[in-house]
Symmetry: C2
């Protein structure tokens, strides 16, 4: 029996990255970038560890995937990320011309859609893949922070 | 006679960074970050050299300034940049809560204002400082690319 490389499969990998962020005390967001069913980059939020607001999971994954491909455009690639990208990350995705962005949980406060940021018109967007799992992890993190 | 640390002074430093980008064949954009009249970060666009869409001058300067300060927030800092920030950079500036952003040339196509991106409500914005010099350098670059 072979594994099925569908959106759930890759979002699970992004969720594993989010869990690694959680273990470090970082807001638990994880991302992977995939081309031809192959993961070429994975990353999790490191803003606290690196004391750097630019160290979101998506930003690191974009840099890493471009490094792997040897070119700055991510055509043919899909980003899986556990939380809706922010303005910064959506802006970076715009420049990368990535083919597809799949996210799990929406971010009604700081997500790029609320903030009015544009992604590239050729980028396909899908939301809600494993949303319950991603949201539960985020809620667990913020509850622990408050307690 | 002492140097006057005004906006022109620091924008000249950002223009020197833009010229360094030009020499490398990069879109000539430069940035410096200043706190208490002291430059704590300088950077120029390196997207081609690093094959990385996230390597804008502002992004590098934000990371560098936060590293210098030992904290991720840039309160009390001013960013001087020779071109209006894009969505990505404006998004990063939003997270940094930087106190002031001064840019030289507007970017009517891909600037954050046209694209609808928000900077932090507490960030003061000033435009047009040494605009002629910054625009001339950009025009020279794109003319050379076409010829």
């Amino acid at each position: 029996m072979t594994a099925t490389f569908d959106d759930d499969y890759f979002m699970k990998k992004a969720l594993q990255e989010a869990e690694a962020a959680y273990e470090r005390g970082e807001v638990p967001v994880g991302a992977v970038i995939v081309i031809d069913n192959r993961i070429i980059a994975k990353a999790h939020n490191l803003t606290e560890t690196l004391t750097d607001v630019t160290a979101h999971a998506e930003m690191q994954a974009i840099t890493s995937a471009a490094n792997f491909l040897g070119g700055k455009y991510l055509k043919g690639c899909t980003l899986y990320v556990t939380l809706e990208p922010c303005q910064m990350c959506a802006g970076a995705l715009y420049w990368s011309q990535i083919s597809r962005v799949v996210f799990a949980a929406p971010d009604p406060h700081r997500g790029f859609r609320t903030m009015g940021t544009s992604i590239h018109p050729k980028t396909e967007l899908k939301e809600g893949v494993m949303e319950a799992e991603a949201s539960a992890l985020l809620k667990r993190f913020f509850k622990q922070k408050r307690d």
